[in-house]
Subunit: 337 residues, 4 copies
């Protein structure tokens, strides 16, 4: 950590910072750069809150040179983690494709989709029973009835179930039905919820908030890991930018970057990342080419009549084409579907 | 609502959209612009999910011309709402200044701050007992012990208490001690929590998420209002941009804009909006000059030793100066402290 | 175009807007939605400045339903344009790879790089002679001497030359040496420069500004096209977001989106889009998989000693590996190198 | 400057970085933090391009602790600069209000506006003769005829003239008529233009680009200053964010921040920063309350018929009210109009 003092910092200010650093068990090293005093700090900096040093009188800025996450770090575990989801490994050579409707609407709708997903080579079925909606006047999902339908579709197809959990008290209920607990983008920093899923040993699909940095995503993964649950799958689903033609901007850089920074598997959600069904196939190919471990895709048998997100859902036929393309791109980068 | 069809849309596509619109009880009006078919929709559009129309074949885009929030709208209630907090009106002529430490640390720290806040003219005491922190390794607050200390400080000073509630199950506990339930920026779209505070009749301070639009903020207020709780105070606390010298970018435009769009009171948090104690006074003056109904300010008797956010906290002495300046600016815009 | 009137708009306001629309040769159609008056406008809207209508009294907002660019539009020309650069077609089946150093430094440096680029299968040599730099204290390029070295490298290798032109008065000089005139991201909206290159018939590589939308990029292409120069190649090079681990955020969505909106070829610059040499290969694969027509890549024989951008430059050896990977991915999407 | 090495950096990598630093005349200091090697660099770092060090093998990141601008810095000149514009000081106790139409349209329009601006207490007249427009099909200004009309209005009212210059070759022409050369936001990083105005001694109004940081703005000011022209006035005019209700987001934090970082005067343009005439007055008050040295405001005698930007222009009557309010707020912060 490096502390740069203001030009006008007094001797007393500097002495106080040095003393404070020592009281934290750190070894400070004072130097000067272009007239400004700079203090380097050595020692065990994990657990140290750099904010407390930023508040000292005469301090201009504090720069951390090491990373604030630990268990999620590639330094902590150099080999990629492989998360087992009902016998389907996520993070290894196999590409994990999770697909299904935005929301569970009816038994028929879900089963039709599930069969199409399975037949095209998907491994997991996604579908929302509890739906976070921007407007209180939008439909909020089938709740437990939706979970039951999901479990029936698993029974019928063998697909593992990925579904969202929205609050700590829903965790036991959703865990009874789901194979993967999804934390939605809006809840990425809902720490009570992260702690609750961290106390289970269920696989967790943690979606990056549209307003969060890669580092913040990894700190949220750290919440789950530090509660003892190692089964975290990260999901890049587009960030918010000034561009308005698309719903979000897929941060494709984040895929190889996360692969450098963490051992956790990374999947991409091209449906939310684009918000336009016509872009989903191209962006799915890009994600796999960039090294993603899988995809999370909205598929609906009749997007025009979907109860939510129809505009970004693709049909089972388009999903079949997408899987064909993914197979070819996957082979090109040494992966199988 | 206006639907623009793609250039290549077929007659059948157009007929289908018209039919769908009619089935929703709307009166569609078809026209042509520069070769593209455009469909205007008349009728009661509230409650209508424009997303479902975006998914129809041949549709290029759907533009809503009316606003999606209703109870929060200035059209719904043209006069400004005044929220009563322990006898202190928020939203009227009086400027409501809420100040105090980021976190409740000790009884002494809080009481010292509370007395300074009261003596300088503050009306409410802020202080966190439950702290949302980016890192699981950071200190997470005193919990119920912190709430007790807050209640004692109210007893001693008469100041109303503003404190954060982080999950639905904490609502009853925090309501026992607090006068205002604060929803933090990271939880703005935690709908389970919004519903829970909506079921109380407690004043709620709803902080805008750092990457949410003004419209999304108002839709979250709508969650609370539509549950029957009319006591919502909005808080602009800075949004996330590409600028890195400051922690966030205060969206000062949002102050007069919210005053146009909604009848709810608007306060500004210059501490989080800047992340630098040296900027807090200037930005507080700007907020009041722009028409804000109050301020939420981090004050600490010893920022250098604060357990959190010291770098953006001002001292009681600086807070006194700030109040003097606010008094003068307030007078200039017809408000009193 | 749709004009939504404010709730409080008077009859006179509405009559005035209708009259104004008619005076512009448009056919207005008045209707009502949820209490608000809405005016649809039919007729030839190209060339019409919607801003002038936004200023009328009582107007709440003006929404354009058609696109403001014309010559660049896929509607204007449904088949993809193929731009010929010294016999190398850009925009067809062949992938156009442009590679070379950020700056021309020495004859040796450039020739070494050019030979490596050619041997690995690159078609064009990039290299800056005039360098736009954030700081006036940074090195600004070799100027005309750099152009001469580029021309010599073309002589030696047969590669076409892509190099930046920074002001209108440089256009004749740079045109004497270059095969493609590059407009840098910071100059995307330098209209004097766009007009100047529009008056030539040289191929132009137009880089998207890091702060511009896809629509603004296409309007800048329109400046060049409307001056009579049809030879425009678009380049996505990353946009500015809140993420700080990477220099920019590659907007991969923009690749298929531009393919929908325009007939112009689209190449991607993964070097600037990531700012980290370790991410360049993965992101290059993604760009080709998403449908890009080519790449613009910084290659340097000795990145550690590059005079600029070394941190995002790859070595000739890494470039060779990248070309191998691009060949395989290209085949997977039906393209050849 | 601090260089953090990657965990896997070899002894040879580290030795090479140390050697390189020494060859640049710097004194490196090697230490270790949590297993990572960290190198602090002491010496004269101005002029040093940190990029070159980022490219060395084994380097993880390079952090600069000092600022890259020098002549613009408050450290270079601790007292605020006062720029003289035809006898009107900008940057001192007096608030400098520059107002007028977006574009010069006709002699009548400009003279009417100029008289209103003068009578209300404005000091300078703004008006565009050369207009940068997003679309090539929009009207581009009256050119030299507009400059002549501006000069006539100065003659008639005594107001100083602020007008935009768009390319280096226009500098002599515009300088013959204008008192202040305005660099528009889109041209902030047009370095050829910055150099050209830097070679004059004319006052320059440098507008911050809508997606540039405060540091980049100051580096562009540095371009002008380092060419020998000390007469630079900075202008904050809103940045681009995800919020769409307003045209831009005024970065009010930047006002006191710039006052800390630089000695140059800072004015605010609330017209572009909001893009809505109804918000201009509130935001103007905020700017002055935050410490701005002046305002740049679009005023038009008939906004409904303005040829450009009517939606964000206020009328002479509203401008009169604004000046009244600014006078009161100015007094509250110790400034006069």
């Amino acid at each position: 950590m490096i502390i740069t003092m203001k030009l006008g910092a007094t001797e007393a200010d500097i002495r106080y910072v040095l003393k404070r650093a020592q009281s934290l068990g750190l070894k400070p090293h004072l130097s000067e750069q272009g007239g400004q005093k700079v203090i380097g700090l050595l020692g065990d900096l994990h657990g140290l809150d750099s904010d407390s040093l930023r508040a000292l009188r005469g301090v201009d800025k504090v720069q951390r040179s090491t990373r604030p996450f630990r268990l999620a770090s590639r330094d902590f575990r150099s080999e990629g983690s492989v998360i087992q989801v009902r016998g389907c490994p996520v993070g290894g050579n196999l590409l994990a494709v999770m697909a299904g409707p935005c929301s569970v609407e009816t038994r028929d709708q879900l089963l039709t989709t599930a069969l199409a997903v399975r037949d095209a080579g998907g491994r997991m079925l996604r579908g929302g029973a509890f739906k976070p909606r921007s407007s209180p006047y939008s439909w909020q999902g089938l709740a437990e009835e939706g979970l039951r339908i999901l479990a029936d579709a698993r029974e019928a197809t063998g697909l593992a179930i990925v579904t969202e959990v929205m609050s700590p008290e829903q965790v036991p209920l959703v865990s009874r039905y789901a194979d993967v607990l999804q934390i939605g983008a809006r809840n990425m920093q809902n720490y009570a919820l992260l702690n609750a899923v961290g106390e289970t040993r269920m696989p967790v699909l943690l979606k990056r908030s549209m307003m969060s940095t890669v580092e913040e995503l990894l700190l949220c993964a750290e919440y789950i890991l530090s509660n003892g649950n190692p089964n975290v799958i990260l999901c890049e689903r587009g960030i918010r930018t000034f561009e308005t033609y698309t719903r979000n901007t897929l941060d494709i850089n984040a895929v190889p970057l996360l692969k450098e920074l963490t051992h956790l598997p990374v999947v991409v959600d091209p449906s939310h990342a684009t918000g336009k069904s016509s872009l989903v196939r191209a962006v799915s190919r890009a994600a796999i080419a960039a090294g993603a471990d899988g995809l999370l895709i909205e598929v609906h048998p009749d997007p025009e009549n979907a109860w939510s997100d129809g505009f970004q859902s693709i049909t089972p036929r388009e999903f079949g084409q997408l899987m064909e393309e993914i197979r070819v791109i996957g082979t090109a980068v040494g992966r199988t579907v």
